[in-house]
């Protein structure tokens, strides 16, 4: 199985739609422990991606497309998530450089690279109550599946479930990074908004990827 440039763009558009639908929910989470804008920032960023994808409809190099997507997101958003996802897409674009189609293995490597970019940019550790708590288990799960040559159908689902567990676990964590990093105990009891959107992105990706397979 694989995703062509066009399919990959379609998947990104699906994610953009999903973020837009869940904008208010993500803001609500951020109001509890942050400044209430996470849904707005993500929506601005993914709308910029949607716009950029329209502009570059004829681009065949997925690496070039993802590099443009990275800059579009970064410059439209700023905030915390701009550099984090900007870096993620940039690192991911290296995996896709010169390619017009990515296999499942390459898609996994794309995500592992992207998540590495987030970790490097944000310097957050698992347990800090950030998006890393969703992304890190996803990356570990994908790495393990790659190493074990696991069938991709179950591998993607496994990664989704690992991310979901990580996201839900943020509820009981004391925040240590980002805006909520000063709340101490008052941050306990709420899912981290960045972890919630991370899982939203990844699970939508997996779903759209699997649908693209059945359609093709």
């Amino acid at each position: 199985m694989s995703l062509t440039v066009t399919q990959f763009a379609g998947v990104l558009n699906r994610i953009a739609d999903r973020i837009s639908e869940r904008k208010e929910y993500l803001c609500e989470l951020d109001r509890h422990i942050g400044d209430g804008d996470h849904g707005v920032s993500m929506d601005i960023g993914w709308s910029a991606i949607r716009q950029k994808l329209r502009e570059l409809e004829s681009e065949r190099d997925l690496g070039a497309l993802l590099q443009a997507v990275s800059l579009a997101f970064l410059n439209a958003v700023g905030a915390s998530v701009g550099p984090l996802y900007g870096t993620a897409f940039l690192r991911g674009s290296a995996v896709a450089k010169g390619k017009s189609e990515l296999s499942d293995e390459e898609l996994a490597e794309f995500w592992i690279a992207a998540i590495g970019g987030i970790r490097q940019r944000g310097k957050a550790e698992p347990g800090d109550k950030t998006m890393i708590d969703a992304w890190a288990p996803i990356a570990s799960s994908l790495e393990a599946s790659l190493a074990d040559d696991e069938p991709w159908d179950s591998a993607w689902d496994k990664a989704v479930r690992a991310g979901e567990r990580g996201m839900n676990a943020t509820k009981d964590l004391v925040s240590r990074k980002g805006r909520s990093g000063r709340l101490g105990d008052r941050s306990v009891g709420h899912v981290d908004p960045g972890a919630a959107s991370a899982w939203l992105i990844f699970s939508t990706f997996v779903q759209a990827h699997q649908e693209a397979q059945t359609q093709s």
Binding site: C27, D35, D37, V40, L74, G78, S80, R182
Partner: protein, 332 residues
């Protein structure tokens, strides 16, 4: 919340355009990067100072571009750090060969976006250095000072750094000075009513009629504790009692004081709070060198205020006294 705007998605661009149109004697909007404003007159050889942050803190941060303050500002979305694009554009525009100082309020977003900008500026051969303002005593315990966020104390630190840059300090001396200024600045605030994001219209938090939030951030981030609404005098006292020991102030010390309104708090309230703060400082033998009462770094229409103290040595006192001329802070 009713707002006189044309649409939530247009507020920042239209505000920046309006600001630049109002103050052509102070700033120009860069054509390539409209979220970057740069001083109309730049002086060869002076270290450039670039500041920035999210919108919603007006007159900060745009208002602090001018003589004796910053040379350029990058404007982010509401409560969101600017992206590297305007930061880098401002950096290039203000660099006069002596390097550029970034003054950052220590939020994750600002830190990362300015960090990326520094990397990009370096590729263009521009030397930058970044200093972080961490004045909010409520945001991390003593010992963890470097984790604290910057709130209204940024303004007094802009003032000091801006004056020093005018005096001809090098980038290295400015970094050193900012370190000292930051170690000697502490703030803390309270909120009595929330602000709301233009895009969501939802209040950032809910407070009962008889409640206040103590130690909150300037983006409506929840604070240290929620307490009963206190009187002006009690509020001043609880803030001063946190700030003074954290700063290690003792009798005979000199301070600059800032009472900063968060948006809908009246000057009346600010002056009443200042009155008590001064009485408390007087009683401890701490001398007010200069006071500033007004709106310097707001949180849109949030109700509440913060108190900032900067402990002054002769160097800092002199820099605090230097003339300054920018729309948000003019001193003859």
């Amino acid at each position: 919340m009713k707002k006189l705007i044309n649409g939530p998605d247009r507020v920042v661009d239209e505000m920046v355009e309006g600001y630049a149109a109002a103050y052509p004697q102070y700033v120009v909007q860069l054509t390539g990067s409209k979220r970057a404003l740069v001083r109309t007159q730049l002086r060869k050889g002076k270290v450039g100072i670039v500041i920035g942050g999210g919108s919603g803190h007006e007159p900060g941060f745009m208002g602090y571009v001018g003589r004796g303050f910053a040379d350029g500002v990058a404007v982010g979305n509401v409560f969101a750090s600017p992206s590297p694009d305007p930061i880098v554009a401002a950096t290039k525009a203000v660099d006069q060969g002596a390097g550029v100082l970034y003054m950052i309020a220590n939020y994750a977003g600002d830190n990362m976006n300015f960090e990326m900008s520094a990397e990009l500026a370096a590729m263009d051969g521009i030397r930058t250095a970044a200093v972080r303002v961490t004045d909010d005593v409520a945001s991390a315990p003593a010992g963890d000072e470097e984790k604290r966020r910057g709130i209204a104390g940024v303004v007094l630190q802009y003032k000091v750094a801006g004056a020093a840059a005018e005096r001809g300090y090098s980038l290295e001396r400015l970094v050193e000075l900012c370190g000292k200024a930051n170690r000697n600045t502490r703030s803390m605030g309270v909120a009595v009513s929330p602000c709301s994001m233009p895009q969501t219209g939802k209040p950032a938090f809910e407070l009962a009629e008889d409640e206040m939030e103590i130690g909150l951030g300037i983006h409506g981030e929840p604070g240290l504790v929620r307490g009963k609404l206190a009187s002006a005098d009690e509020t001043a006292q609880s803030l001063i009692e946190r700030i003074v020991p954290d700063l290690g102030l003792a009798s005979g010390d000199r301070v600059a004081v800032m009472v900063n309104g968060l948006g809908s708090t009246t000057y009346m309230e600010m002056f009443i709070v200042f009155r008590k703060a001064k009485q408390l400082l007087d009683a401890q033998g701490i001398r007010i060198h200069r006071a500033h009462v007004g709106e310097f770094v707001t949180s849109m229409e949030m109700g509440g205020l913060s108190i900032t103290l900067m402990k002054l040595d002769d160097e800092l006192a002199g820099l605090i006294d230097d003339p300054a001329d920018c729309p948000a802070f003019t001193q003859a």
